[in-house]
């Protein structure tokens, strides 16, 4: 197996998995909070928030990457603050690639989780309240466990999306071997090289296998929780 890919190529796969995992873990609580807000609360600006969350889905990824650069670049308001206070730099780092992947994955994660939260019967939450549960405890004991398959599905879907992230990553984090060159970026680089077809083929197969596996798992999880009518795509 190790002879099939060069150490450099294994490095690309490992980096991709690390970036995607970091992106999903970082986004998970935020995505669930947003999904819950959008599913359960009516508040002014809700439509605006919904649109904002979905923006990365419809914007050209290169524009999302550029916006990230404006915000999180060394001179950007957030990036400058992070660097001054925590010494954290995101641009040209694998953490920047993870941020780009997280932003691109967020809308898909929110959608999957929102579906599963909406599928939780609110009357069960009322029942828990009459039995003595505070709103927070009712959430922890009823809404959260009943929407758990949606959390898993959203995480898998976000993971698949992160693995495939290209445009925002190359714009924001650049294409640096060993730091931000994830699978799609390595494939892109391979295409620029004379005689890179074999490399491109190998990395593409890995991409396809990982993404399809994540997608199938997430679809299965959502069907299991919300019935056959619901699906992630």
């Amino acid at each position: 197996m190790t002879g099939w890919l060069t150490p450099d190529e294994w490095g690309v796969v490992a980096l991709s998995l690390r970036v995607s995992l970091a992106a999903v873990l970082f986004t998970l609580p935020l995505a669930y909070a947003l999904a819950w807000l959008l599913a359960r609360r009516r508040f002014p600006g809700r439509i605006l928030l919904d649109a904002l969350v979905h923006m990365p889905l419809v914007l050209p990824p290169v524009v999302t990457g550029w916006l990230l650069l404006l915000l999180f670049g060394r001179n950007g308001p957030v990036g400058g603050w992070l660097e001054a206070n925590f010494g954290v730099t995101l641009v040209f780092r694998w953490t920047g690639a993870a941020l780009a992947a997280a932003v691109m994955a967020l809308p898909l994660m929110v959608r999957a989780m929102r579906l599963s939260i909406e599928a939780v019967d609110r009357r069960l939450v009322s029942a828990a309240r009459t039995l003595g549960a505070s709103p927070w405890r009712a959430f922890l004991t009823i809404t959260l466990p009943l929407s758990a398959p949606g959390i898993a599905a959203g995480a898998m879907l976000g993971f698949a999306r992160s693995l495939g992230e290209f445009g925002a990553t190359i714009t924001f984090a650049s294409n640096i071997a060993g730091e931000t060159r994830t699978l799609p970026l390595a494939i892109y680089s391979g295409l620029q090289l004379p005689g890179g077809e074999a490399l491109v083929t190998r990395l593409s197969i890995i991409s396809v296998v990982l993404s399809v596996a994540a997608l199938v798992v997430s679809e299965w999880l959502v069907r299991r929780s919300a019935g056959a009518r619901a699906h992630v795509l």
Partner: protein, 207 residues
């Protein structure tokens, strides 16, 4: 006195305007469907805040629009048995029964799991998931869960509806036993006059 309720509440075009005081062990709220009977139960349980009025059960004032008092549902200790049961689908019967019991302060628990499972005849169901229960079994578990939550009063929403005659009779006898053996005021919603005449010490009609 068990229930002292006066409330006004508008839902869309409909206006509920109801006042009653009952000292009976079992009070029945009767009226045609759409009269707002369940809404009244939801107001008493704290799931709906009425536009105006005062709700007291026993010595406890639960809601008073004059003073702005509105106890949240978790502090009312209502044993609400919903028409659809509302058992938690991800928890076994035993965990459903224990849900409210665990949340009730020790001094509010006046009945134990053993007594409840004996009374309701649900000891053999403890390891089952709610989806595998029959309608009558689910209803008995829902009653048990409400009793165990340290309830100070019971709200029964159409407890005999959508059961076959034999099951309905079983539940009816159970409610009779709860009424006679346990010192807990019961407010029952029904559209069936024969059940109500058999059970209720006081009948509150709703138009």
């Amino acid at each position: 006195m068990s229930f002292d309720v006066s409330l006004r509440h508008g839902i869309g075009e409909r206006q509920i305007d109801l006042a009653f005081i009952s000292t009976a062990r079992l009070t029945a709220l009767v009226g045609p469907s759409g009269a707002g009977k369940t809404t009244v139960l939801n107001c008493i349980a704290g799931l709906i805040r009425p536009d105006e009025g005062r709700i007291a059960v026993g010595d406890h004032v639960l809601f008073d629009s004059a003073t702005g008092l509105f106890l949240p549902p978790e502090r009312r200790r209502a044993g609400y048995v919903f028409q659809e049961g509302r058992l938690f689908p991800h928890l076994r019967v035993a965990a459903n029964l224990a849900y409210g019991e665990r949340l009730a302060p020790a001094e509010d628990r006046w009945i134990g799991q053993g007594e409840v499972t004996d009374l309701l005849g649900i000891g053999h169901l403890l390891h089952r998931m709610p989806a595998t229960l029959s309608g009558g079994e689910a209803r008995r578990v829902a009653i048990g869960r409400a009793l165990l939550s340290g309830a100070r009063f019971l709200l029964l929403d159409e407890p005999f509806a959508s059961l076959d005659a034999a099951r309905a009779e079983e539940i009816l006898q159970l409610v009779e036993r709860i009424r006679d053996e346990l010192a807990i005021p019961i407010l029952l919603v029904s559209h069936d006059r024969t059940e109500v005449d058999r059970l209720a010490g006081q009948v509150v009609p709703m138009a």
